[in-house]
Amino acid sequence: MEAQRLSALHWFHLQAQARLQTFFGWQLPAWYTQPASEFAEVRASVGISDASYLSKLDLRGPTGDLSLSPPARLWKLTSAHTLITSPLPIGFAASSSVTDVSSVYSAILLAGPKSREVLQRLTTLSVREGAMPEGAARQTRLAHVNATILRSDCAGLPGFLILNTRDVAEHVWHALLHAGVQFGIRPFGMVAQQQWMGFRHDAA
């Protein structure tokens, strides 16, 4: 039997009695309460979802002619530092300028109309209107730890993929829940998350 890939938030999902299934080779919550209502709740206010399964590739130097097809996405961190994310394995061989950092980073999707207000309680990075448009990437501090924030909207609603080193994932998850308490923040599972991200991969 193939070994289960577990996210750093696995034990939170267990405690929350989420419905766990295999997505992209990882044990992840399909939903916490109801698959049907979770997406609507996120669209109404704000929620967080575990996206640690994403492949992440770190590229140094000029990217040159990169032909990326969805669902892979390219994020420009600096003029010589690029990040590629995808739910599927990314087909680039490791080299002196390409590093697979999929395991290094957890990813949390913070999504919904109130997501900006939640971020404003955890980071000095400006996320005000116009400061960080869809597709933008920022490296900064969030809840006292380093974070890479990727703006990932859905149907005009703001969303942010928050990448942290895996060792502080639980801390960031709880900080987000705390910062969003007045907005009714709740975790949402993979069914709703895939609707947000715009790709589908049926659970095993």
Binding site: L6, S96, S103, V104, E129, R166, V168, H171, Q182
Partner: protein
Amino acid sequence: MDQPEILFQWNGNTVTAKPGDTVASAIYRSGVRTFTYSYQHGRPRGLLCLTGACPNCLVNIDGVPNVRSCTVPARSGMSVLAQNQNVYRGFDSPAVKRFPAAPPLAESPHHYEHVYLQFDVVVVGGGPCGLEAALASAERGLQVALLEKQPALGGDSMLVEEVRAHPAITIFVNCTCFGLYEGNLLGAVQIDYDRPHAETLLHLRAASVVAATGAYETQFLFANNDLPGVMLSTAVQRLVHQHGIVPGKRAVLIGDAPRCSTLQIELQAAGIEVVASLRVDSVVSAVGEDHVRGVATEAVTYDADLVVMCGPLLPDLGFLAGTSPQSVTLVGAAAREGFANQAYTPPPSAQSTDAIACLCMDVSGKDVAETIAGGMGHIELIKRFTKLGKSACQGRMCQTAAVSLCSQISGQTIAQVGTTVARPPAPPVTLGVLAGMRHHPARRTPMHYQHDQLGAVWMDMGDWKRPRYYDPAGIGNQEHCVKQEYRAVRERAGIIDVSTLGKIEVKGSDAGRLLDLVFTHEFSTLPIGRIRYSVLCDELGTIVDDGTISRMDEERYFITTTTGNVDFVQQWLEWWAAASALEVTITNLTAGLASMNLAGPQARGVLAQLTNCDLYSQNFPYMDWRQATVAGVPATLMRIGFVGEMSWEIVVAAEHGSHLWEQVLQAGASVDLRAFGVETQRVLRLEKMHIIVGVDTDALSNPYEAGMAWVAKLDKEDFIGRATLARMKQNPLERKLVGFELEGHIAPPDGSPVLVDGQPVGWATSVRFSWEKEKVIGMAWVTPAEAKHGTPITLRSDAVDYSAIVVEEVFYDPTGQRLKM
């Protein structure tokens, strides 16, 4: 109209408030006139300013002390207590102060938050001038924040509607600005009265700041000016117009004629008889015991139950304390008023004992006069000697009195007297709101919860949580548990989670060159497949960190560092790469890899169940690495260890860590393999005299004195620290790190001083009981004179002396055979 009643408790009595009442106005409305007693002399104090500027209305609300009750809307269910109640009311005795204890932090119902926002313009003050300034900026397309300390914006209602409707203006009410800091960072506290005990600290970055905070009124200085019933004109106006309360029947007004006559009309319209309007320099004293009953001049005493001061108006710019004036635009009364046009001539009675200049500290005009007479005429000296201005109101109420009096006595102009230096925060803020969310970022390994299930007793190593040892049966005996783990490792097999150690990948055409530069050994010539232990030094030859370096490929290396040091090492490598323009990519992989060290004479047998990799020494010697599939997942096996037994470090992707740990425990069940923690590892490695950087070395240790001369490869052309190490090699050592052992079972603590003939010669760095030697063993810094095998030394702890002898040979397996089996 039926409005819900607001009922709260004041000192155990029920008070009924009307909608719109503050806590102070509701208490006043119920007939209370004495709100507190002064801090020093126990003088009765009543409402004075009604705007949060003076200390007279400070109360304890629901356990929170020193709340300005005149700024807090009354809410049902509040429990309000007066402060400074048990005071000895004599002039020469200090007041006996009693403060109710604050609840312990963990039980505190308070919710504190921080919010970080950025605006083009921040306007402080939501009165008419502030509204206009906000609109003007918003119309120019700028993003504006408007801060107002009251629950609502003030002024013309059409203007207020326009501001509310404008999309570019964000309004914050119940929001008090307390400081403007470097880089145009404004600090403000917002209280949400709908969520009890919720305070938010706003960090506002502003491209420009407008202060439209208006002016606030201060008191006059004359005898008994602090009696309840002596109030500021703006306070009386608030009581009458905002709260519909008439504060008296017969009033004496004090101030200059134009202001008094305007006020007189207002008061008479409210049904208050004005019996006299006086200039302040003609006032001898207010008269009364617990409440004012009149005002005395030279000629006559007027009967009155209300005395209204049309006092000096000062710009409300407390939050700008310590800022340069050019960076802020002042508008309205905040720009207009100031000391220069508000100073007055104090009457002679201002220099009496009963003329209170500083309400917070009970500093009288007489105190100030005597201080000046004593040669301390500088305003800063007056403040320090008398404590004037050093308490709750932060000098807001007392500055005009002090400055005017000082000018009058010394003959200096107001400008020459100046004011004391003020600093933010002003007004005061709670420590809780500055702290914000109580969140400490704990770092956890992928196997964290499995350690929990195994009964881990946790310890902190920096931000990391690590098992100190395991106590599955919950017996609570550390020594017993550690011994079990120790025996497992020495006799059978043990497994320890070492994921917390730093892991850095260094690759690129200059990778070898970089490592040759920062480590004491040469790495560009290390064969692929080999691992080498080395040390990082600084330019002074001091050991900064140690670790293993593995050659993974032609241009790729894998470094391990001590737990907690990876950030430093990464920054160090990045700096050298940047400063020397090296072609290299440095990646911190620490969190992405789960590593565990399987150690013990049976380790090979356990590991062989999980992998097809040939583990025998002729094919997999000590200090080699191999890629292999272990328990069905891709892994790197590194034949290294720290405990002196045959061991492999198994490194897998973090998402597989849990699975691998589980598989190792299962595979090891047949030999009774045990998970072992940091404490056990400390004992095991101490028996091998393996140093821990930062425990056995300090900020000055160099390799020669640490007994590690072999790390310094001076034949290398250049590495950091080489020149100084070369010099050190020629000089005699000043101290040496040696091993020692002592009889008995009790281990003095790490850090115990080492004495010879009663004189300190060093200290013990690590001390533990060794089951191998059945003695206490350790390592210590001593002077070279003691560094010979058999030299007697003494450790001292808690006034007890422990006799030990220096030991040169490693305590366990001196020839190092066991780890190469």
